[in-house]
C-alpha cells in the first residue's frame, strides 16, 4: 500500500464570506508527481499557503509525514517554492548556504550538487541581477535543499522559455526517479503538467473536483470519435439502437462517441445503410486542457 506523505481533510479557508478553499481533502502518496490543476484564483496557492503554515486554515486537518500536531517540525521535511525568495545581494551559492544553516543541512557538497543540477554552478553574480529563469532555477534548488522527501512547487515554470521548461521538467523527473522525491506541482500550463505528473488533482473555486491517476486520466481521455452527419438526431438513434452507447453525446449534427468506442468502418456502414449522410468521421484524443475545461464546465 502506498505511503501517504501529505494529507488534508476538509481543509477550508474563508476570507469573510468567500471560500478560497472549500473542504479540500487531498492525498499525496510517496513517489507521486502530483499535478495540481486549477485556474488563476482557483485556490492552488491558498492550499499551499495553508499546508506550509503561511495562512491559518478556517477548518480542516493537515497531516504531513504522519504528523498532525507539531506541523512546524514536520514542515522541515518539506521543500517548497511558491515564489523564488532569496537575498538580492547574495550569490546563488551564498543564498543556498544561508538556507543550509537555517535548515540545519550539513552541506557536504549539497549546494554544489544542486547548483549543478539546475545549471547555476559557477554563477557568482548576485541574485538581484538574475533573469526570471535563473530565479526559478535557484528556487527549485532551494526547494530541494537537504533532500526533503516532499517538494511543493507552485507554478515553477511561470515565465520560462521552452528550454527552461524542459530543464525544470528534467530535474523534477530525475529527482523523482533517482531519490524517490515526491512532488506536488501546480501549473496552469497543462500540457507541461501532462508530461510530468503521475497523479492529478483538479481544483475549481476552492474545491477539489477530482483526483485521478495518470493511467486513469489517459483511459478517460483516450480516443473519441467525432461523427458529423446531416441528421444528428436520426444518426444517434441508429447508433444507440445498434450499440447502446449511453455515453454518446450529440451537439446538433455532431455526435461524439466517448470511451474509446472506435469501430469507424462499422459506424459508417450502419449510418449510410439507414440513409444518414456521413460528412466526417474523425478520431480525436482529448487533451488534459480539454478534460479540465470539460470537468469544470468551461466548455
Amino acid at each position: 500500500m502506498a505511503q501517504t506523505l501529505l494529507q488534508t481533510r476538509g481543509l477550508t479557508k474563508q476570507y469573510g464570506s468567500f471560500a478560497a478553499l472549500n473542504e479540500v481533502s487531498l492525498d499525496l502518496q510517496k513517489g507521486d508527481i502530483y499535478g495540481l490543476i486549477g485556474r488563476n484564483g482557483a485556490g492552488k496557492t491558498t492550499f499551499f499557503k495553508c499546508v506550509m503554515g503561511l495562512a491559518k486554515p478556517t477548518a480542516g486537518e493537515i497531516e504531513i509525514a504522519g504528523s498532525k500536531s507539531g506541523l512546524n517540525a514536520a514542515r522541515r521535511r518539506v521543500g517548497f517554492m511558491i515564489s523564488p525568495s532569496f537575498f538580492p545581494y547574495l550569490n546563488p551559492k551564498q543564498n543556498l548556504e544561508y538556507f543550509c544553516r537555517v535548515k540545519g543541512v550539513r552541506d557536504g557538497g549539497e549546494t554544489d550538487r544542486l547548483l549543478r543540477l539546475v545549471g547555476l554552478d559557477g554563477v557568482k553574480k548576485p541574485f538581484k541581477t538574475f533573469s526570471l529563469g535563473m530565479k526559478q532555477r535557484l528556487g527549485l534548488a532551494g526547494a530541494m535543499l537537504g533532500k526533503p522527501p516532499i517538494v511543493v512547487l507552485d507554478e515553477p515554470i511561470n515565465g520560462l522559455d521552452p528550454q527552461g521548461i524542459a530543464d525544470i521538467r528534467a530535474v523534477i523527473q530525475q529527482e523523482n526517479r533517482e531519490r524517490g522525491t515526491t512532488f506536488i506541482v501546480s501549473s496552469h500550463i497543462l500540457s507541461e503538467l501532462d508530461l510530468v505528473a503521475t497523479r492529478f488533482g483538479f481544483i475549481e473555486q476552492g474545491s477539489l473536483v477530482q483526483e485521478i491517476t495518470r493511467a486513469d486520466l489517459h483511459e478517460r481521455t483516450k480516443k473519441s470519435l467525432i461523427v458529423d452527419v446531416d441528421d444528428g438526431e436520426k444518426a444517434l438513434l441508429v447508433l444507440q439502437s445498434k450499440w447502446g452507447l449511453p455515453a454518446a453525446k450529440r451537439d446538433g449534427n455532431r455526435i461524439t462517441l466517448e470511451a474509446h468506442f472506435d469501430p469507424p468502418g462499422a459506424i459508417a456502414h450502419a449510418l449510410v445503410t439507414e440513409g444518414v449522410a456521413l460528412y466526417r468521421l474523425a478520431p480525436q484524443e482529448t487533451t488534459l486542457e480539454e478534460y479540465f475545461m470539460h470537468l469544470i464546465g468551461g466548455i
Binding site: T45, K49, M52, G53, L54, A55, K56, N72, A73, A74, R75, R76, V78, F80, I82, S83, S85, F86, F87, P88, Y89, L90, Q94, E97, Y98, F99, C100, R101, V102, K103, G104, G142
Partner: protein, 247 residues
Amino acid sequence: MLRYLRGEIYRLLRKKSFYIYFGAFALGYVILAFIRMGSSGERQMLKDAESLFMFLPPVVGSYLFAAIYTDDLHAKNLPALIGFGVGRIRIVLSKLLLMSLFGTVLLALVPLFMYAVHTVFGASPTGAVFGEVYAWGLKALMETVAFASLSAVAVYGLQRATFGIAVYLLLSLGVVSQLLSALFRWEAVHELLPGLAEHLMAGISLRMLMGLMGNGAVVLPAVEYAVYVTVAAALAALAFHKKELEF
C-alpha cells in the same frame, strides 16, 4: 533558533554594504581626527563619544535595523522561513537577539576604535574616561535595541519595510518622544500622571546612564527597560502571528 541565528549571522557578514557603511564611518572619524590633530585628548574623546553615541541610534541603528529586520521583507524571505518550519515567535526573538548582538559588538568596538585613533593622534585616555565612553555607548545601545523592538511591531504587523524603517526613524530621531513629552506636559495629563515623561525610552536610558555613573539607581530603569522590550516583542509576535504572509 540557533540554526536560524547562524544563518542570519552568515547572511549579514556577507552583506558588502555592511562593511562599506561602517568603513565609511570609520574613515570619516579618522579624517576628522586628522583635521583636528593636536586637539586630541581625553575631553575631546568624551565630547566625541557623546556626539557619536547620540547619532548611533538613528544613523547606525537604522542601518542595522534595516539589515536585520527589513531585508527579509525585500527578499520575501519570511514565508520561506515559516514554510521551512521556523516558528514566528522564534523569528521575532532571534531578530531581537541579533539586534542586541550586533549592537553590543558595535558598542564594544567603537570605544576601542576611538581610543586607537586618539592614541595615534597624541592622546592617552584614562580608564575612567574609557568607562564613561562605554556608559554613553550603553545608553545608545539600549535605545537602539528598544526602538528596534518597538518598530518590529510595524514590520511584522504591516509587512512593509518602508513603514518599519519610518517608525524606527521617528522613534530614534526623538520625534515620538517629543510629541509624547508635549502631551505629558499638558496640564490635565500632568496632574493625573506626573513624571510620565521620565518613563519614555530617552528618560529610562538617561537614568540608566546616571546610575552607571554613580548618580542614581540602576535597577529600576533596568527593570523598566526590560518591560519595554518584552512588551514590544510580545506585541510584534502577536502582530506576526495574526498576519497571513503574501508572496
